[in-house]
Symmetry: C2
Subunit: 366 residues, 2 copies
């Protein structure tokens, strides 16, 4: 079968895309700034009323004395680990083998900070207390990512997390939360962001995942930690003269989307069920989502599935994904995260799209 569009094009042109909040385009910025007064003074190198207000708001939301806005989570988290490493006098930090710092940052942690990561757990499940108990004694900081994105957004049970936190406190190991998608797990845990953060010494949250801002991150912790992180922010080249395009838009979307996290989570549970009921070749990881995200594993090679998905997307008008990634032992997979768009889907269109997908998978079955 020859197709004249790529999967990305088919997805981008579909009238009913299922993933995310909307297109990442300039409108995201224009909408956020429409109601902001042009006379509002810029932040200047991390100072000024508007950045302080936003940071204070996030500190309160995360239940920490102080919060600092960063251009990126990459920068914020390397800095958090460096601060804890310097404080402990040990270069050892521990995290999951699929941690963002290990696989998406061109080894910045090693090349810039010379830290030595210890990889915990295997690549199919989150870090558990048993992994933590097996760490060397001189680990300065343990990073836990909630939910663990690269394995479909899995979570440990909350009491497992409490046990890890208690152990780290007892041993003097700092516990850092990679909470890129922290707000997205509050409905499943049934706990506030601040309550979850109380288990950790430092916390990073992203403002452009579930919150749907343009870019940026917040790092929160004790006052001294926050102050030290500002010095490192300057060293990294992240202390921009003006960061307001990011945090003012983050604030705008936070106001609109923080109240909708339960809805996104419930949408993920419902959509995962549609995938799991669709065809025996398809399953989601986790089977029942614990946040607004999950992975879809399809027992077909990418080359075989891609034309099928393009066709179903074009015929049904419903976009499943813009990209398929090959996965050893599975076939291929893609990531789903639920945002504003899911509630706007006409349910009959969605059901019809899944019927078409099931039919096409049957017809290509050998």
């Amino acid at each position: 079968m020859r197709l004249n569009v790529t999967l990305t094009e088919a997805y981008n042109n579909a009238p009913y895309p299922m993933i995310g909040h909307g297109k990442r385009n300039v409108h995201v910025l224009k909408e956020a700034f429409e109601s902001i007064d042009g006379d509002v003074d810029s932040d200047i190198y991390g100072s000024g009323a508007i950045i302080e207000q936003f940071q204070n708001k996030l500190a309160q939301l995360l239940g920490k004395p102080a919060a600092v806005f960063f251009p990126s989570g990459t920068m914020a988290q390397q800095i958090a680990l460096r601060i804890w490493s310097d404080a402990a006098g040990s270069k050892k930090v521990a995290y999951h083998p699929l941690c963002h710092l290990e696989i998406h940052e061109q080894d910045g942690l090693k090349k810039l900070h010379h830290l030595e990561p210890i990889l915990l757990a295997d690549t199919t499940r989150p870090v558990l207390l048993s992994d933590v108990l097996g760490m060397p004694d001189d680990v300065a900081c343990l990073l836990i990512e909630l939910p663990q994105r690269e394995i479909g957004g899995q979570l440990p049970d909350y009491d497992e997390l409490e046990a890890i936190s208690a152990h780290c406190r007892e041993k003097g190991i700092k516990l850092h939360l990679d909470g890129a998608r922290l707000f997205e797990i509050t409905p499943y845990y049934g706990r506030s962001a601040a309550e979850i953060c109380s288990l950790f010494d430092s916390v990073y949250v992203s403002v452009y995942k579930g919150l749907g801002g343009i870019a940026g991150a917040v790092l929160a912790g004790e006052y001294d930690f926050a102050e030290e992180s500002k010095v490192w922010k300057r060293r990294h080249g992240g202390d921009l003269i003006s960061l307001y395009p990011y945090f003012l838009s983050a604030d705008y979307y936070l106001e609109r989307r923080l109240p909708r996290m339960a809805e996104y989570y419930e949408g993920a549970v419902a959509l995962a069920a549609l995938y799991n009921d669709c065809h025996s070749a398809i399953r989601t990881v986790p089977q029942v989502p614990v946040s607004n995200m999950f992975h879809v594993h399809i027992n077909r090679p990418k080359e075989e599935l891609e034309p099928v998905l393009i066709e179903v997307t074009q015929q049904s008008g419903v976009g499943f994904t813009h990209v398929l990634r090959p996965k050893e032992g599975v076939g291929c997979y893609f990531e789903v995260s639920i945002g504003d768009r899911y509630a706007e889907l006409p349910q009959e269109k969605t059901r019809e799209a899944f019927r078409q997908l099931a039919g096409r998978l049957d017809s290509v079955d050998r």
Copy 2:
């Protein structure tokens, strides 16, 4: 004398401020995006049509094969020096003692990259060929800042620069241009940005000094250099999912202000003359500006001059500066950079303000 406002407040409230383009407020962003279509897709992690277009435009403007947009000059320049250091297998780099990397970056170059700067020249003049000839043999890269901001924006003669460039090429020393204010020196040198850049292996320019964007920087050089700088950008946490708030606004203001650089330079020459003619306690550095900037040295202690400036600002409506800095052996000083505002000043108001300043300085003379 008791005053109920600070110098910053008096300056910000003055109807005729002399420095810069305008207030750093949200309007700067709103104006730039007013005419940009909301449907334009965001850049994604350094890719996409809009960032590539901007980077290609800047590469052409700077006469280099490739250019990369960075969130900050701090990040861009550390990375440039690191790349040249790695290539040469030497940690030694050389620059002026008042280089931005030495005094404004919390030692990021040393703490993150472990480079070892050698300081050239003294703190009153730019780097000259004689300084360069005295460097150790194993210097990987020499950074030259044009104009040298911390000494009022001084420049070496152009043939001195050519001689430095020729020497570095002969010795295999990479030459990097800190061109934060590069466009601002083209009228004085009577040469295009590309012509000046041809003397250098790598070049950084800022988009928010004379160009008046929101924040951001461009690093330009050979294709391989640019590609390597993108890897380091990721490591630094500068490879944001979306940088368009900065480079689209930079492009907007570049179109408007690049053609006005000669006007800003001429404004600086004219305004410096007003300062030098005002009172024997006042002189500018350089005496005749060579870019759009200069420093004003005033032979009075900051505490004595500040109430005078507040009073003259309030009475004349003309803002001289928002801040005075103490300077040993001088008294105090402030920086002037000319932008859009200077052309809008009513000349009679300006002359009257200088008359008042001269009169008040006489009256506080002892």
